[in-house]
């Protein structure tokens, strides 16, 4: 599973998830609900870029 980076520098790491916003560890970026936004700046998923 890949990490994804927000333009604000936040990195979504599927190994960690986003606990504070109800996203369990092990959740792939692709499986995040469309309502999920960057916990740091509020940007929607479409603005994230895949890291390799």
């Amino acid at each position: 599973m890949s990490k994804y980076e927000c333009p604000c520098d936040y990195v979504y790491d599927p190994a960690e998830g986003d606990y504070e916003n109800g996203i369990e560890a092990g959740t792939a970026f692709e499986d995040l609900p469309d309502s999920w936004v960057c916990p740091l700046c509020g940007a929607e998923k479409e603005f994230f870029e895949k890291l390799d």
């Binding site: 333009p7 604000c8 520098d9 936040y10 740091l40 700046c41 509020g42």
Partner: protein, 397 residues
């Protein structure tokens, strides 16, 4: 200011006052603002932040009253936004283009997009220190307070925090310090928090906790706008804690617009109902109050009540303007309710309720719509609605 102010031995405030700005990207600045910059004299001389582009010469003149600008060794950019970086390239021409500009990792990216290839930038790490001779600077990454590039610079020996936009106020009077300006500083600081930082409240909480845990001693806070907190920096830290928690006080803000005074009449009755329960209420006409002043009132209000007539099957444009603005600043833990008059179709209440849900507000009343002109019975309904809103507020606070 037109002359530097020594804020601690060898440390000067050298920025500029924008006396007559009244609209700061849509934020009403009735007392102007200032773009603060700071000069530290040591074995290495340092300039922290610059000013808006058109004030470059004034900044250089201020610095020249203390040292020759070319004697500055290092420049620090705590924040990329143009009110603090606009003068950077012009100032570097005078200081020396080859000299280092220190910034955060995101600052490097963002300054490069603003001034491609023009600056000798170096990114510092969170917690990195820089020895100036007698003093040591420490850099703290403060991402999204309020831009990705934002950082603070701390002088360890003097216990001074250079906090970029955080703890700032848009104020350009002749006071330089909190103890000179007096109580009104908190009104300016509240407006600043509500309009610039509210949406990053969880970051503020994280910051305050990490400051507390690290035991960082703060003797003075120097923001990039307004006065310096030298007398009581603890006071603004306590207020930031309060504002960022967003528990809310016993207060409702009613914002409304009106076509033929029906919705205005309803607003008054709703306000009377709220007031009858000894809950504070602010009545704000969206075409008479500036959106940034409305936001300041929303800051600590437990409930947002919105009144809009139905116009062309929608809500009033200025109400939509203010709601868009409020929505972006993401107030948390709020209650909401809607009302409005209508002629033949009455969509406004339904639309407002949808907006509240999108803002994750707790809709505490189904809403009240009244055709054309409210009669006695309708006014009673408005009053009762106000009482119901107040009761919910009292239950929650």
């Amino acid at each position: 200011m037109f002359k530097p102010v020594e804020i601690a031995p060898g440390i000067y405030s050298v920025g500029c006052r924008d006396w007559d700005i009244r609209d700061f990207h849509g934020y009403s600045t009735y007392e102007g603002t200032s773009y603060n910059a700071f000069l530290i004299l040591d074995e290495k001389n340092v300039l922290i932040d610059t000013v808006k582009k058109e004030f470059a010469q004034e900044l250089l003149d201020n610095i020249s009253k203390i040292i020759d600008p070319s004697d500055i060794d290092v420049v620090i950019s705590n924040h990329t936004e143009m009110d603090h970086s606009g003068a950077l390239t012009a100032v570097m021409e005078r200081i020396g283009k080859e000299k280092t500009v220190l910034c955060s990792k995101m600052g490097l990216k963002n300054l490069n997009s603003h001034f491609p290839g023009k600056l000798n930038l170096r990114a510092v790490d969170n917690g990195e220190e820089l020895n100036l001779g007698k003093r040591t600077l420490a850099f703290m990454e403060t991402k999204m307070l309020h831009w990705p590039d934002s950082m603070f610079t701390y002088v360890k020996e003097d216990k001074i925090l250079f906090s970029s936009d955080a703890f700032g106020q848009h104020y350009a009077g002749d006071c330089a310090f909190d103890d000179e300006i007096g109580d009104k500083v908190m009104d300016h600081a509240a407006k600043y928090y509500a309009n610039i930082l509210l949406n990053y409240s969880s970051r503020v909480q994280t910051l305050l906790k990490s400051v507390q845990e690290s035991g960082l001693e703060i003797g003075m806070i120097c923001p990039d706008h307004g006065v310096i907190w030298r007398d009581n920096p603890g006071a603004i830290i306590a207020r930031y804690d309060e504002w960022s928690k967003q528990d809310g006080v016993k207060k409702a803000v009613i914002i409304f617009d009106t076509m033929w005074k029906s919705t205005a009449t309803m607003a008054r009755e709703v306000a009377k109902g709220i007031e009858s329960r000894d809950v504070h209420v602010r009545l704000m006409n969206t075409r008479k109050c500036h959106r940034s002043d409305i936001m300041t009132e929303v800051l600590d209000a437990k409930a947002l009540v919105v009144g809009s007539p139905t116009l062309n099957n929608g809500i009033f444009p200025v109400v939509a303007d203010v709601l868009t603005y409020i929505k972006g600043l993401k107030p948390q833990n709020r209650m909401a309710a809607a009302f409005g008059s209508y002629g033949w179709s009455g969509e406004s209440v339904k639309i407002l309720n949808r907006e509240f849900e999108a803002m994750k507000m707790d809709v505490i009343h189904e809403g009240l719509k009244i055709q054309y002109v409210p009669d006695e019975a309708d006014l009673e309904k408005c009053f009762v609605m106000g009482q119901a809103i107040a009761d919910k507020i009292l239950d929650a606070c």
